[in-house]
Symmetry: C2
Subunit: 443 residues, 2 copies
């Protein structure tokens, strides 16, 4: 039996994760400035409010897209922003406000009034209407401390020096979104398209793997300086989220506040990107990869987890069934426990594949099914066949298995052999720490 | 942080569960005899093979019904029995063989040959064809030790003294099904129908709550002495399983071997029960209640669990949505952790309700939603309102909550206020022990 980690060890692990996953520099898209402040909502005095401003105003300014939670109980900021974004048809959004410490969820009519009040405050300051979107994360069932928010927001917006488009400003913004996260999540990349246009993608997210007390609120923002039509932007973001934030298994719970926004400032002087642009598929792939990297950080940020596992389902009949199989394996408590116990338990994986709710039964054929572990960390290149053409390998090389399973990173490859589609899902193990953290949250 | 239980404590807990949940007598339906033997498949020499014989042969003998796993990977005994039962059209089944220790799952063509060989052995002995069904549970990916099974089965079937229709024989049978179960599961009841006919229901099951190494195989058998038409029997069993064994949340994993059989010997001299019989709904309700009691024992038999929780969803628009909400709450890792931590965390319950995949969105209306804890153990009668008409109770009486949550038994009542249907689901908490047991299984 493994003993639980001490608080000291937890802090040490968190520190090393910070070193490993937080960059020390970055690249940032033209046409944005971001600022953050500590309003006092977080009792420890840390940053808890951030504002993203789109500063490029030609041709109607930035275009916007969003993916909101599908939870039927939507928090006030989600309700307010969804309506506003629909009304704007994805054009002219000039501000996104994010606050942490209070989720403004399950707060009824007063919560919605408060959300709209935050929007009004920003829009009065900016002198524009219907241009502001919101994200909130934190405790649910409590109202926003409007005095603190109003005061903090006023102070921030009236201080132009508090805004910037540099590494320090973006890192602070990503910190202002954090709740149970042990490190801020910031990723950026610069790309050159075939025609020679260079553009930038910067993404931030929050959400903390397995620990997520109360509920695993996932927030994210991706900014780019390309000019992209609203429908192309929504297409890109929806597809990217479907293959990234919707492909991580935390604990299967979906929060009232989950929100991912994307803004395209259009500050780069190039042709408008639409669904029919030649570079559209490439940009979509680049955004997807950035979103995947951001989403993986959420899985890695689990104090309760000891493993980072990629579940790769390949040669599937269709993407939907590849995804449902990857998700079912990733969410199986028994598979997660086996990973924690460093047990090459093919039976649990096979069982999970078998009860996945497939759209098309033809996706699964026992006789063409192969399952293996592939080393991606210290065991890179190593492969361990667990099931070959539907037949379990009962003589597993246990010492090889032990070495591979001792690594932090592992890949489970499920080759369905029924088609050409594939899906990656990212998960972690289920540990004693997860139970401790989630059982002891309120007390 | 809670420390893990020692082996000694676990053994003591198991002993007290045995005392609490295993009866010391019972009533048994006419027209059956059952026998058990230790074949040596279980290495500790315990009972691992049982045979249920239907001995009443008039009017074509017993009728049979079954509910099999929906896992796409079906174990050989499931494949063989499903085919045989379909061929029989539910008539003339005279034997059910159950073995534990080896699941004969993921064993390919050889596994199916072995399953059919077991059937042949029984049918040669009985001198009848196509009358035998199978159930297997235990390690998967391993072949049946046919020499042990053949020898044991031969010895058992040739010794009529090994068979009986008394408490001791049925208790032994329920023991012969056990794998990780800490106590045998046997329930029986006698009923008198309005017309004066007295009949008996006896049920056995296996499956062990949260611990279930490898996968949570669930086996069950219900016998009655009423004469029931095959289609009425299947109707009764399907409905009962849908409201019992399919309403327990263990870890969400569904095994390759799950099987519930029902046999009606017809040994009582009364009119054949069909779907149009006046007593049909009453019998259905009585079978459902017995099946629910059997299923609840599976939830209670979790070494890893400290709580037995009934999730009661009421005033729902339809049964399907009531069930999906109850199931989603019951399967939420965060809700289960909160229960283990004795935390009145309405937020996690609300969140789970919100992400339940409803068939009809009208099933859920925030303004009519009420959630409460109801005491069923030592706190019987106590009620704690968590959400009232969609508004969370932020001033929860913490000392009352603490008392109620300290009980082993608890009921979570979700009143949707959108209809008249209801569903009960039974679940347990997610504890350190669960992780220990499932992480350390193979090692």
């Amino acid at each position: 039996m493994k003993s639980s980690l001490s608080l000291c060890q937890r802090a040490a692990n968190a520190a090393s994760k910070y070193e490993r996953y937080v960059p020390s520099c970055g690249v940032f898209p033209l046409g944005f400035k971001v600022g953050s402040i500590a309003t006092g909502v977080k009792k420890n005095g840390q940053l808890d409010l951030g504002v993203i401003l789109s500063t490029y105003e030609r041709e109607g300014g930035a275009t916007a897209a969003a993916v909101f939670t599908t939870n039927k109980f939507k928090a006030a900021p989600v309700v307010a922003s969804k309506e506003r974004l629909a009304k704007s048809e994805g054009r002219g959004i000039s501000a996104i406000v994010v606050n942490s410490g209070c989720a403004n969820a399950v707060t009824g009519a007063v919560g919605l009034e408060n959300a709209n009040k935050v929007v009004q405050l920003v829009e009065q300051q900016l002198g524009r209407k219907d241009t502001t979107l919101l994200m909130s994360t934190g405790v649910i069932g409590q109202h926003l401390s409007m005095d603190k928010i109003e005061h903090g927001l006023g102070t921030l917006l009236n201080n132009d020096d508090a805004f910037g488009n540099d590494f320090s400003s973006w890192l602070s913004l990503s910190k202002a979104m954090m709740t149970t996260d042990t490190f801020p999540k910031l990723i950026s990349s610069r790309f050159t398209l075939p025609g020679g246009t260079t553009y930038t993608l910067t993404g931030i997210s929050k959400g903390a793997g397995m620990i997520c007390p109360n509920m695993a609120t996932l927030l994210g923002f991706i900014g780019t300086d390309l000019p992209i039509s609203p429908s192309a932007l929504q297409n890109i973001l929806s597809s990217a989220v479907d293959r990234s934030f919707n492909c991580i298994s935390v604990d299967g719970d979906m929060s009232t506040n989950d929100t991912i926004y994307m803004l395209a400032s259009g500050a780069i002087d190039t042709d408008l990107i639409t669904e029919s642009s030649e570079s559209f598929p490439l940009i979509k792939a680049q955004v997807t990869e950035l979103a995947q990297n951001l989403a993986q950080l959420v899985v890695r940020d689990g104090e309760g987890s000891t493993k980072f596992v990629t579940v790769h389902v390949k040669r599937a009949l269709n993407f939907a069934d590849a995804k449902v199989i990857a998700k079912t394996i990733s969410n199986s408590s028994l598979v997660k426990c086996a990973l924690y116990g460093q047990d090459a338990n093919w039976g649990r994986i096979l069982c999970a594949i078998g009860y996945a709710q497939l759209g098309d039964c033809a996706s699964l054929d026992e006789s063409t099914l192969n399952v293996s572990f592939v080393g991606v960390g210290d065991s890179k290149g190593a492969e361990l066949n667990l099931v070959v053409d539907g037949v379990p390998n009962v003589n597993i090389n246990e010492s090889k298995a032990a070495t591979m399973l001792a690594d932090t990173d592992l890949k489970i490859v499920v080759d369905l052999g029924t088609g050409t589609e594939e899906c990656n899902f990212w998960t972690c193990d289920l540990s004693h720490e997860y139970i401790s953290i989630n059982a002891d949250y309120r007390s």
